[in-house]
Structure formats: C-alpha cells, structure tokens
C-alpha cells in the first residue's frame, strides 16, 4: 500500500482515543491504507502533536487525522501540512477556526454537555431550583473538551455561564464547586470526596467522562449516598453504558470515535484516489458524527436511546 495516513490523538491512554485508533486501524487494513499513529503525552500536550504533524510531512503521508489538543495553537502546523499537499481532517474536536482543516468529523462536545444538562434538569424536575451540583472536570489547564462539556451541561441545565470559554467563573449558588479529575477513577473519587466534604447535600454530579463518574460513584458509595445522587457523564464507552444500565450513571452522551476514525480513513483513501475532499454535514460547518443521549430513564423533550441500543453502538 503506498497510501499512508497518520492518526494523531490527544493521548493514547484515554480509552476514547484508544478505540478511535482501533477503529482507524481496522478500516485502514480493509482499504489497504498504511496507518501510523501518534499521540500527545497528556491532554493539552500541543508540542507532541506539532512534532507528529512534522513527522507525517517528512514521511510523505497522504492524509492526517487529528484530534487536536489545542485547537488554536495547532493551526499553523496544520497549515504547513496542507501546504505540503496533505489532506488534514480534524477528528472529535473542531479546529479554531474550523476551516483550518480540510474537513472535520466531530462530535459537538458542547451539544453533548447540553444533552445531559437538559436531561438532568428534566429528571430532577421541580427540585431544579435547589439542586446542588458537583462539577468534576478534566484538568487545571482547562483543555477545550473539558470546557465545552462543562459549559454545555450548565447551559443545558439553565445556569448562567459567565465566560463560556472557561469554567469556574459561575456565580450560581447551585454549583457547589469544580474539582479536577484527570479523567480517571482516582481523580473522580478524590474530587467527589472533597466536594462532599464541602457540601454533603450534593444531589447532582456532572463528570467529564465515565471513568471519573465511576470514581465519583465509589466516593458516594463509601458514604452510602449512591442512591440519592444523580450522576451524568459524557463519552458512551461500553463500560460507561453498562454503568448507565446498572444505574451507576443516570445518563451519558454517547460519541462515536470509531465512526469518526473509519470515516476519516475512508476520506483519505478517496482523496488519494481522486483528490476529492469530504463535505460537511448540511447546515453545519463540520461533518457531525453525532451524539446521542443514552439513558434508561428517558424524559420528555430530550431525545434519547436506551442502554440496549447504546451497548450496540458503544466503542469498547
């Protein structure tokens, strides 16, 4: 195969990107594309991604799929790649500006947050006014996914955002506090414990992803509060959906990394063949691979699928 492609993810430790890589590899094998993968060390590690793009240019890749850590800072490197005649497709996270990439196959993270926000609001119903919300975020460096999901959730729930480009500046008393989790169980548990110690009346927990949600659940379980508190999350990985099924998580917004990846590979293969570039979804500036709310307790006004459906679509 003389068509070679690069997949550059934010990290290669987050299951989300691991699955994205698996999906891409599978598709690449099917289409006879030679795929090489690169990743940052942590979410926000822009330099590794810059170096990865350079390596792809030197390697004469035909196309690059990138889930950018810093959507603005990566733009000049992306431009270099495009100038070298490489098709650059942004996966998962749109670049800023969005037309910096040839195409974008992404989930709308803000939308993902909004869905769980709306669901949470409808679920708690009348008690929405005296809800006590714990916000379990990603990292102190406030990478864009973390901000978008967080702010989307708050918007969906109907809380004034302040500056929508960062979390932590909300003044609404219903938000008990923000803690960072690094997106894993350990951080989720510690953050939940800290917020519980701050206010033991917490009844709604937003988590950046499902591992953090699992950690938060352990913390709640340790103090016997697991039944009175609703946890919402984003991602839709198989363990996460299972957790929804078992009632650990109330609802989660499911994304489709495998789809993004396979679509991306297809697009590159096509581009290598005839030079055509993929087109965005109608009415949007990017190709939306979609996001769906997964819950077994659907509410009116928010479209959702149940966990059986979710488990069929989940990614790992």
């Amino acid at each position: 195969a003389d068509v070679s492609a690069c997949l550059i993810t934010k990290t290669d430790t987050n299951p989300f990107f691991v699955k994205m890589k698996e999906g891409a590899s599978e598709e690449a094998k099917k289409l006879g594309v030679q795929l090489k993968t690169y990743a940052g060390k942590v979410d926000g590690d822009n330099e590794s991604q810059v170096a990865a793009i350079e390596t792809c240019i030197a390697d004469h890749a035909k196309g690059i799929l990138i889930a950018a850590s810093d959507t603005k800072a990566i733009v000049p490197s992306v431009k270099k790649a495009r100038d070298a005649g490489i098709l650059v497709i942004a996966l998962d996270t749109p670049l800023d500006p969005i037309d910096a990439a040839d195409a974008t196959f992404a989930t709308d993270n803000m939308k993902a947050g909004e869905l769980i926000g709306q669901w949470a609001k409808a679920t708690v119903g009348d008690k929405a006014d005296d809800a006590k919300i714990a916000m379990l975020d990603l990292a102190v460096s406030q990478p864009s996914v973390g901000v978008l999901r967080d702010q989307g959730f708050l918007q969906g729930f109907g809380i004034d955002l302040g500056d929508p480009k960062k979390w932590g500046d909300e003044t609404d008393p219903r938000v008990v506090g923000h803690e960072v989790t690094a997106g894993n169980e350990e951080g989720g548990r510690k953050a939940m414990e800290t917020l519980l110690a701050k206010d033991s009346g917490i009844n709604l927990v937003y988590t950046i992803n499902e591992p953090a949600a699992a950690g938060a659940y352990q913390a709640l379980k340790a103090v016997g509060m697991q039944d009175g508190v609703t946890i919402v999350s984003v991602d839709g990985g198989c363990p996460g959906v299972q957790n929804v099924q078992e009632g650990v998580i109330g609802a989660t917004s499911q994304q489709y990394p495998l789809k993004m990846a396979s679509l991306g590979i297809e697009a590159i293969a096509k581009f290598a063949e005839d030079g055509s570039k993929p087109q965005p979804t109608e009415g949007k500036s990017f190709f939306d691979t979609g996001v769906q709310l997964v819950t077994d307790k659907p509410v009116d006004g928010v479209e959702s699928i149940d966990t059986k459906e979710g488990l069929k679509l989940c990614w790992g």
Binding site: E186, K190, E193, T194, A197, K198, P211, A214, A222, V223
Partner: protein, 356 residues
C-alpha cells in the same frame, strides 16, 4: 647498626601528668536552644507541628464541617495511597536514592492483579500474589542496576518509569475493569476499599494498611540491624561498606521492598477506585516525593524518619481538602501546595541551622 632509643620520645613524658580530659567546652542550654535541640533530634516533630497548625487553622476557618470525624478520617482515606507509596519512596530516599517509578509500579501491579483474574481467569488470591511478584521483580531490577551496575537511581528509575508505564498501557490495552465486575467475581481485589465506621469516623482498610506499613517500617528502621544499615548506606555508602555492611545487598533489598510496597499500594488502589484503571496513579511519584520532602527526609540520604513522611502526606491532604472545602479554585490549591513545599523545607532548614 646503631638503633635509636626505643620508647616514647622525650617530649611526650608530660602527657601522663596532665589532667585526664581533652578539650571540652561549656554547653549553654537556654530554653530556646533546648527546644531547638529537641526539634533537631527528632526531625519529624516539625511536620507534625505544621500538620497540627494546618488542621487547627482550617478548623477555625471552615468550622464543624472540617473539624468533624468524617472529614478528618476522609483525609486519611485520601492520603492512603500516597502514604503507602511514600513509605516505599522513604526507604529509597533514605539510601540517598530516589524512585520515580513508584507510581508506575503501583498501576502496573494493579493492572496485573485485575487482568490475571479477568483475562486469564486465575483465582484472585493468586493474581494478587502475581501482582506483588511483579512489583518485587521491578524493584529488583531497579536495585540491581543501582547497586551492581552502579547507575544513579534518578536515571534508573526515570527510565524504568517510562518502561513500566508503557508496558502498563500496552499490556492493559487501556481497558478499565469495572467495579461491578470485580465486586461480583473477585471481591478480594477490592478488600482494601471496605470501611470500618466508628461514629462519624470512616476508615478504609486501605488507610489502616497505610498506618500499619508506616509504623512497621518505623519499627524496622529504628530497631533492627537492617534498618540501621539502610541509614548507614544512605549516609556514606563507602564507609558503610568498609564497616562491614553489605551495601549492595541492602540496596537491592530496599528496592525490592519498595517494589513490594508499591504492589500493595496497587492492591489498595483497586480498593479505593473500585475498578482497575490503567490511567491512575501517574502523579504518585511527585506526590510521594513531596510527602517525603515535606516530612523532612533528606534527599541526600541517611537522615529523617518515615513518620515525618506520613505527616508530610497528611499536610498535603489537609491542604487539598481544606482548600477544596473552602472553595478555592484548584489552580490556587496547586499554587499553594507549591509554596507549602518550599516553606516546609525552609522552616526545616532554619531549625537545623539554628541548632547545628
């Protein structure tokens, strides 16, 4: 041939008529210098004082919420992992080494325990034993490279950190084993997550294990020959070797011991998280070093006590919980802990200097 007169030289005859003392000095002992002397003799008192002050200050600011049995035991739970890993780190630092791979060993062993149970279907008991074995093996490799090949510990464990972490991700395929699965199929793995409640106080077995490990090591380091040898090796390895300490063996045993303790931390980690997650614990090397340093153990080896490390870990725990409850932005917490690290060591240095 003529030989000189044997026996002491003439001028030395005066010696035996002199007083039986050699140079001696008047020792002043004012109250302040007494206190400083005590502080100097038992270096773990400083972090203990800082800890108490921190608890009192946060108690005053935050009131009953913080000053409750629940919150205070919560701190113990939260520092359990760091405390166990810190115990391993303390051992290594006492030998004038440093172990950057502790966190990675912990995660890998927890993954081994989980995957051996779930991927290969081995009995949990056996999987745990394998995990501990893996910890010991990595510790042995570290120790071998440090003691036999004589490489600097910083570099050995820097390399090992990357190797172990990469192995962890490659082996686990980044797959989390869910708490619910463990609960039903291998509850032994979660045992350290079990809690004991006494009134409002909530203690996990993990926190209790931390206390047991720390106190056991404190005993071993003070009261056994091996413990004295650890200090001697850290103090001056050459002198220790000449004085009859088997430096290499001690060093290797220390690293193996650290590996085993990290594996126990890995087990406790499963209990704490409920699940087995290969992305956990990436900051435990920094956290444990911070605890060790705030606890007054010298990075140059041979000085300090493991209890100090425990207090150091608790100080960080008190600060993060206290600041979190106060509602400080996590970024400010981060900043304050940075300042705390420097301040703690500066105070320590001041006492040492004053009481030198």
């Amino acid at each position: 041939m003529a030989s000189e007169a044997r026996g002491p030289q003439g001028f030395e005859t005066a010696i035996h008529t002199g007083p039986g003392t050699v140079a001696e000095f008047h020792h002043k002992r004012s109250a302040v210098s007494q206190i400083r002397h005590v502080l100097h003799q038992t270096p773990s008192i400083v972090p203990l004082l800082v800890l108490i002050v921190a608890i009192v200050v946060f108690g005053l600011i935050l009131g009953g919420r913080f000053f409750s049995a629940y919150a205070l035991t919560l701190i113990l739970q939260q520092v359990a992992i760091t405390g166990i890993v810190g115990a391993a780190q303390s051992l290594v630092v006492l030998t004038a080494g440093i172990d950057l791979s502790v966190g990675a060993i912990m995660v890998l062993t927890s993954v081994v325990m989980g995957q051996f149970t779930f991927r290969y279907g081995l009995p949990p008991f056996f999987a745990v034993a394998c995990g501990i074995g893996v910890g010991a093996l990595i510790g042995y490799i570290n120790g071998f490279l440090v003691a036999r090949v004589k490489l600097p510990p910083f570099i050995v464990t820097l390399g090992m950190w990357q190797i172990v972490l990469a192995t962890n991700f490659l082996y686990s395929a980044n797959e989390t084993i869910r708490a619910q699965d463990i609960e039903t199929k291998a509850p032994l793995l979660q045992i350290f997550g079990e809690t004991v409640r006494v009134g409002g106080a909530v203690l996990t077995y993990g926190a209790i294990m931390m206390l047991v490990i720390v106190f056991a090591l404190a005993y071993v380091l003070r009261q056994t020959a091996w413990g004295r040898h650890v200090y001697a090796v850290g103090d001056d390895p050459l002198a220790a070797e000449l004085a009859g300490v088997q430096v290499k063996r001690v060093l290797i045993s220390v690293y193996v011991c650290a590996g085993v303790i990290c594996a126990l931390a890995g087990w406790a980690l499963i209990g704490r998280l409920g699940s087995v997650s290969p992305t956990s614990g990436q900051f435990e090397n920094i956290n444990s070093i911070t605890a060790v340093v705030i606890g007054g153990i010298s990075l140059f080896g041979g000085r300090g006590s493991i209890l100090g490390m425990l207090f150091g870990a608790l100080i960080v725990g008190v600060f993060s919980l206290g600041l979190g409850m106060y509602g400080t932005d996590p970024q400010w917490t981060y900043l304050l802990i940075g300042i705390l690290i420097i301040a703690a060591v500066a105070v320590d240095q001041w006492i040492r200097k004053a009481a030198a």
